[in-house]
Amino acid sequence: MPNQIHTLIESCKKGNQLAQMQVYDQYAKAMFTVACRYLDDIEEAKDAMQEGFLKAFIHIDKYEPTATFGAWLKRIVINQALDTLKKRKLELVDDTVDNLQVIDDDNWQFDSTITKADILLAVESLKDKYKVVVKLYLIEGYDHEEISEILNIPVKTSRTQLRRGKQKLRELLNPHYNEARY
């Protein structure tokens, strides 16, 4: 399979529309799913996904096999989705960061009874500025270097936002807290 995509990419570089459509067919569902994580509206997510493909084809000369094509494409699609959000002037990142030393808290241990669905629901209810960083880290699996590039923020800000977002998640997902509500 890696060989197949490699040949397709070479054809795409030459502007071969047939190859481009094959690439689209192969990755559209996955990319759409990614876009849906950031954009509620299905039409918006679809547009962002398709714009992402178009951009990828335009810049396909820049693709290097150091990353998988899917990962490279995903990055472009995410950027596109975030651009759509930015257009709505959502405050994605809070620039005020403490000058305190940020200790990287690598603890993501949560109660086992908590399901993926619970977590996704909780993430949705986070403030925008935490939500995006948490999604990029937790769901997409990017590290802070990558997140800082995508959002164009300092690495320290990324760490801080993630820490605060994770803290908030703990509050929302705390079973004792939830029990107390009922």
Binding site: Q17, T33, K46, Q50, L54, I58, S112, I114
Partner: protein
């Protein structure tokens, strides 16, 4: 019992369903992308100065090196010119071979001569002012016009000569 929730997100997720017609829609978007031609023009000397005049189109051939001196730019332009002239001659020959219409050939000869005269004028301008992008563009535009002229008329003649296809009717 605890779990690292990051593990929950490592597996493949089920996909979201795309709206119908998404493929056709994308195909349309793809087809309406403009063909991008990027022209990189590397200039001469320590400080590169490019005087750009808005009116003309930009159709410079792709040149590759980083720093060059004047004579090298000149050599490149001459190479471009040589290639075009060769192609133009080739197309002229195949055009003349393609048609029996003397009047057509005559008219095209006149037109090409006019363009050639233009070209001589632009060339002398270039000799006086070889730093001027506008003049270089005029040169290339002239060459391209001649080539396109010959290619288009041959295509036109070929369409006229096309033999019957399945759908054809004669009136």
């Amino acid at each position: 019992m605890k779990q690292d929730i990051r593990d929950l997100f490592k597996e493949e997720e089920t996909f979201q369903a795309l709206p119908n017609n998404h493929r056709e829609e994308f195909l349309t978007k793809l087809q309406s992308q403009p063909k991008r031609k990027s022209h990189v023009f590397y200039w001469i000397g320590a400080v590169a100065v490019a005087v750009v005049v808005l009116v003309l189109g930009f159709n410079l051939a792709n040149t590759a090196a980083t720093t060059q001196n004047t004579s090298s730019v000149l050599a490149q332009i001459e190479a471009v010119e040589a290639k075009y002239l060769k192609d133009i001659e080739k197309e002229w020959q195949s055009f003349v071979a393609l048609t029996e219409d003397e009047r057509l050939v005559e008219r095209f000869k006149v037109r090409l001569n006019e363009l050639d005269k233009d070209y001589q004028e632009i060339s002398s301008q270039f000799n006086q002012d070889s730093n001027n992008i506008a003049v270089i563009e005029s040169l290339v535009e002239n060459l391209q016009t001649r080539l396109k002229l010959l290619k288009d008329i041959q295509e036109h003649i070929k369409i006229l000569n096309q033999n019957n296809e399945q759908n054809e009717k004669s009136i």
